[in-house]
Symmetry: C2
Subunit: 230 residues, 2 copies
């Protein structure tokens, strides 16, 4: 586990973050500094530092003096997506003003991933494409603070990655949002950026996220219905 390159606390940070995101450290779990230190064969100091970082980023939360993996309710995820709507909208606007030929081409290849025939094991590949697509837009936007906000949001949302993937792509989820919807929305964003139309780009990005939010809310309704026994 321990190597000499990056500072120990950063390695510890990455490790714990991955465990949170992957669910090995499940939501609600109380984080015990000593445990992690023992597990990673380091002293408590770098672990403590890593925990401070994680807390700052919202990947851990203080609950009565104890650090816990936050239990994000769907409401929280939706709140995060509202932020994403604002961020993605702005990023797309800026990207439409600034994008160059090379990045545009790259953006197109990410878009194409959604055209391939559907296979079950493609889900994670699709997810990666989705991340790449949006991330490239942020890079092109050239606003480092905006990029940072986006990363914070993505990190938090990714705690729910597994769930949202399933919901978004599972035809049994009771909602009718298909990969074609996503594809169409991405295409609209791409077209607007490609035609250097900032207003249209922002609106397309916002529409895309609004659809995701709508879908999340519908999924929540379905889940709630199931819980009351419908």
């Amino acid at each position: 586990m321990i190597s000499r390159g990056p500072a120990l606390r950063d390695q510890v940070y990455s490790h714990i973050r991955d465990r949170i995101v992957s669910g090995t450290l499940e939501p609600g779990r109380v984080i015990v500094e000593v445990e992690l230190a023992a597990e990673l064969n380091v002293s408590r100091t770098p672990v403590s530092n890593a925990l401070v970082m994680l807390k700052e980023r919202g990947l851990l939360e203080d609950d009565g003096g104890k650090l816990k993996v936050p239990i994000l309710k769907l409401e929280d995820v939706i709140d995060l997506y509202w932020c994403r709507m604002a961020h993605d909208g702005l990023a797309s606007r800026l990207a439409a003003e600034r994008i160059g030929a090379k990045d545009l081409k790259q953006l197109e290849t990410y878009l194409r991933a959604w055209e391939t025939p559907e296979r079950e094991d493609d889900l994670s590949a699709l997810w990666v494409s989705d991340l790449n697509f949006h991330h490239l837009i942020y890079r092109v936007a050239g606003n480092r603070h905006l990029l940072r906000f986006s990363e914070l949001t993505t990190e938090l949302v990714s705690v729910y990655r597994r769930n949202t993937i399933r919901r978004m792509t599972d035809p049994e989820s009771g909602t009718n949002r298909s990969r074609n919807d996503v594809r169409t929305e991405h295409e609209a964003i791409y077209e607007a950026i490609a035609s250097r139309n900032p207003d249209a780009a922002e609106e397309a990005a916002r529409y895309h996220i609004r659809m995701v939010i709508q879908h999340l809310e519908q999924a929540d309704l379905v889940i709630q219905s199931e819980q009351v026994g419908l």
Copy 2:
């Protein structure tokens, strides 16, 4: 300096943050852990933790292994204001959907601060009113992640508070943005929120920040002109 209530590292954090914001620790300054520890009569541990927190929030930056107070260029501030545009727009939209009578009244009182006759020593009071006005909107919006983003942005921008106040209100700055402009824009936001019109509220907030950005860019042009001897 040391009290027993909040954790030492949080006290240290606040102290250093205030020194950065107030300019006592000027941009570019290299932060020396031992110095601060000695100055505050604490050990290096809580200082180290505080520095990690400050770095996470962008109030310190890593520069070749050394921690420095970041030197924000005007371009950075403008980037931050673009983010604010997105955030304030969203917050105003959400606030317009959710605000209650009591908060609305409070919002109105903050608005009124801009109607008082102009006095030089009112500048900081105006600034506080401005902060309160916008902050209340965020609280009403009821999206904790959005609130957090806003706080991060405000914290960073406030490193430049002094400058922006001067530029915004100094009639000699060469631009013609007056407090009446700000007042009018705030009123538009208020009116839209009061009439529960989310679209109008978002647009009014965005317009407000766009004007600030425009002003910042103009001020920059003026400064650049001065620098080349015009």
